[in-house]
């Protein structure tokens, strides 16, 4: 088997965060597909109960159950792989937990009906988070016949604004039970999240606000007590191609386009009304250049933390399974998986 160098050798839990609207779920799904290729088994976990994964993979709503939702394509040199999905909701996770540690299956179901599970996870958001991260940690460590069951776990995590608190499990549950299974559970989760097995990736578009959130999020995670949490890559989503070299874009953005040159070119291509058309296309090109220069500024800001950046192309017709495969290939080509 050929081994490829990827940027995240040894990472088994990939946490994907980003500002709402930046395409977190799409990027997480593409990453899961990319990690699965080469005959791997990958679990993709959704924790916000939005059924975003089902939408991205064009499936009916998914239950609280690990099920296979996609196959990574095989190639001439590489066999395909499997992506499983799990929609983890805190209520079910709590029920499962009560069953496992207290043998409270029937009582738990009764309590669910009266709304006690919902109530418990509502009054203690920390409990909610530790149950969800706990599901991911469990999947990372799960073994079958002495071998690790999943090669990697990808978590479509809460948005950047909440990611620090979500992952900082120990302090989250510090106000909760101080002994017993929840405590042990939290300690295990904490160990996994703070280990080199875990990396947090950020998804952004090239706009000011999502980029700022990435920078703030990275600073926050780096500043967490206990050595911080490993920062992964930055996935720049919805990148549109530019048609001119960088220097020329800057010139155009600053000084506009030589309409005369453009008119001559259009005429040479046999287009009618080349003078007026040149004016309109010049306006379009200038606007494009201004946008591209602004985007370059955001790229420069994203380079500051010193993490690898991966670019995901904009898919014009909305993301379908084909688009998702294209994104996963882009991630592999750039060494993200």
């Amino acid at each position: 088997m050929s081994t490829r160098d990827t940027d995240w050798e040894g990472v088994r839990l990939h946490v994907v965060t980003g500002k709402g609207g930046a395409g977190k779920t799409t990027a997480a799904s593409a990453l899961a597909l990319a990690l699965a290729s080469g005959g791997k088994r990958v679990l993709l976990i959704e924790v916000e109960g939005r059924q975003g994964i089902a939408q991205v993979f064009d499936r009916p709503p998914l239950p609280y159950e690990e099920r296979k939702i996609a196959v990574a394509p095989d190639s001439a040199t590489q066999p395909g792989g499997d992506v499983y999905a799990l929609v983890a909701d805190p209520e079910s996770a709590l029920l499962e937990y009560l069953e496992m540690f207290y043998n409270l299956r029937h009582a738990g179901q009764a309590l669910t009906r009266v709304g006690v599970m919902d109530f418990a996870t509502t009054i203690a958001p920390g409990l909610r988070d530790v149950l969800l991260t706990g599901k991911a940690a469990e999947a990372v460590r799960r073994k079958k016949a002495g071998k690790l069951f999943y090669d990697a776990v990808v978590m479509d995590a809460p948005p950047t604004g909440r990611i620090g608190r979500f992952l900082n499990v120990t302090s989250e549950v510090s106000g909760l039970a101080r002994v017993g299974p929840i405590r042990n559970h939290a300690d295990t989760v904490q160990k996994v999240i703070h280990s080199p097995q875990t990396a947090v990736h950020f998804v952004t578009t090239l706009e000011e606000m999502p980029v700022q959130e990435v920078l703030d999020g990275i600073a926050e995670l780096r500043g967490l007590p206990g050595g911080g949490i490993q920062i992964g890559g930055i996935m720049i989503n919805m990148v549109r191609p530019t048609e001119l070299p960088a220097q020329e874009l800057r010139d155009v953005a600053a000084g506009g386009v030589d309409e005369h040159e453009l008119a001559l070119g259009l005429k040479a291509a046999g287009l009618d009304g080349s003078v007026r058309l040149a004016g309109d296309l010049a306006a379009e090109l200038t606007e494009h250049a201004v946008a591209a220069v602004g985007q370059q500024e955001q790229r420069n800001r994203l380079a500051e933390p010193g993490q690898p950046c991966y670019e995901l192309p904009f898919i014009t017709d909305g993301i379908d399974l084909g688009g998702l495969y294209r994104l996963s290939v882009a991630l592999r080509d750039q060494g993200a998986a």
Binding site: G20, G21, A22, E48, Q55, L98, L104, A107, G108, A110, L111, R113, V114, G115, V116, F119, A120, T122, I123, A124, P125, L127, P159, R165, G175, L176, A177, I182, T205, E207, E208, M209, P210, Q212, R240, P241, E243, L244, V257, E261, L262, L264, G265, L266, A268, A269, G270, L271, L277, D280, L281, E284, L285, H288, V290, A291, G294, T316, D317, G318
Partner: protein, 395 residues
């Protein structure tokens, strides 16, 4: 002619109508709600209204440009930039007399103020110091939405402005804005939380007996998973808050009546992308169910081309002709080739955007739509907001 052309949404008319007192901008995250709300506020002020814009989470530079450096719950005056008459098509004839204020929501402060307003000082201090209250007021899902609504109610009661523009909190789903406050209210007022406070009440016990689960088991399980301290904090909080529950419900009811009242207009903001428009669809349906007045859909960041008469296919063909004349190396036509390829992409993008917008209009043919063109750069100053506002001009 396709039959999926929506009725136009005339934002200037909405703004100019003095009966419009509240405009609520909602939509899923990342679609430009804050920018749109700010642009509407500025535009309305330019057209003579006394406006306050309530923002929740503005981009840093945009906030700074409006003079908002802190989340401090205080409406600040935003100087309206002077613009020469008729400098662009859409520029309003600076109607004198308008004013613009903007403020950023501080949800914890807003919550604290409600507590202070409804409880005597000792009890208020007790509540504010309660660990459960602190997590409720700063980190609970739904609190931000609840407090945004509360603030809207306060601004309306203050009656210092004749138009309030509200930007709703950044959530993934547009519906959170309507659901979250009620969810939080239900929770605070709910049976379980009452049971924790008055476990001895016969009604409570009987209620749980019916469900074959004893009260002891409920607290037992909750203590196991949450720890005794958390439950104790909740209990103290709820008993301290007990006298305020009526107040909470009243305030929430007032705000919801306000949202249904004539004078309120909802704008659903969406980007021309499938996810954002799907959320917009849900929201439109929901507003209709709730009897809340929808003014229309603002389709934000729409790509158009000034050279739409040149199709993508012809642009690509022309670029190829020039490319074969130039050869492999960048030749004399490099600039034209780039312009043509770019144009083709722009046309394809515009067509894709139109298709998703048509999906929406097919499902909601009567919802008026206004398009706001994509700005080449992030909008981060008043001039940029002014340019967005100019695109509201439909005449």
């Amino acid at each position: 002619m396709s039959n999926v052309t929506p009725p136009p949404l005339d934002l200037d008319r909405l703004i100019d109508d003095r009966r419009t007192r509240v405009i609520v901008c909602c939509g899923s995250g990342g679609v430009g709600k804050t920018t749109t709300a700010a642009a509407i506020g500025l535009r309305a002020a330019e057209r003579g209204r006394h406006v306050v814009v309530l923002t929740v989470d503005p981009a840093r530079r945009l906030a700074q440009s409006m003079g908002l450096s802190r989340l401090d719950n205080t409406p600040r005056v935003v100087p309206i930039p002077k613009r020469p008459r008729g400098d662009t098509d859409g520029a309003p004839d600076a109607t004198p007399g308008g004013s613009l204020h903007a403020m950023m929501l501080d949800m914890k402060r807003t919550f604290d103020e409600i507590v202070e307003a409804h409880a005597d000082p000792d009890r208020a201090a007790q509540i504010l110091a309660n660990p459960f209250y602190q997590s409720l007021s700063s980190g609970f899902s739904g609190t931000q939405e609840y407090m945004a609504m509360e603030k809207l109610g306060q601004l309306r009661r203050a009656d210092e402005w004749d138009l309030i523009v509200v930007d709703t909190p950044p959530s993934r789903s547009a519906l959170d804005f309507l659901d979250a406050p009620q969810r939080l209210g239900r929770f605070l007022d709910g049976r379980l939380i009452r049971l924790l406070v008055v476990p001895a009440k016969v009604g409570g016990r009987a209620y749980l007996k019916v469900l074959n689960a004893g009260f002891g088991m409920v607290t037992g399980v909750l203590t196991k998973v949450l720890g005794a301290q958390v439950l104790k904090d909740v209990q103290t909080f709820v008993s301290a808050l007990d006298t305020m529950f009526g107040g909470f419900r009243e305030r929430a009811d007032y705000t919801y009546r306000l949202l249904r009242a004539p004078g309120t207009a909802f704008l659903v903001i969406a980007a021309p992308e499938p996810d954002a428009l799907r959320e917009a669809s849900y929201f439109v349906e929901r507003l209709a169910q709730e009897g809340m007045p929808l003014a229309g859909l603002v389709l934000n960041r729409v790509h158009r081309s000034p050279a739409a008469r040149l199709s993508a296919a012809r642009a690509v063909a022309a670029a190829e002709t020039l490319q074969s004349a130039d050869g492999q190396e960048p030749g004399p036509h490099a600039l034209t080739i780039a312009a043509l390829r770019l144009h083709a992409e722009r046309m394809q993008l515009a067509a894709a955007e139109r298709r998703v917008a048509e999906h929406f209009t097919t499902a909601h043919p009567h919802v008026p739509v206004a398009e706001v063109p994509a700005q080449p750069d992030d909008v981060h100053d008043l001039a940029g907001l002014g340019a967005v506002g100019d695109s509201f001009y439909t005449g």
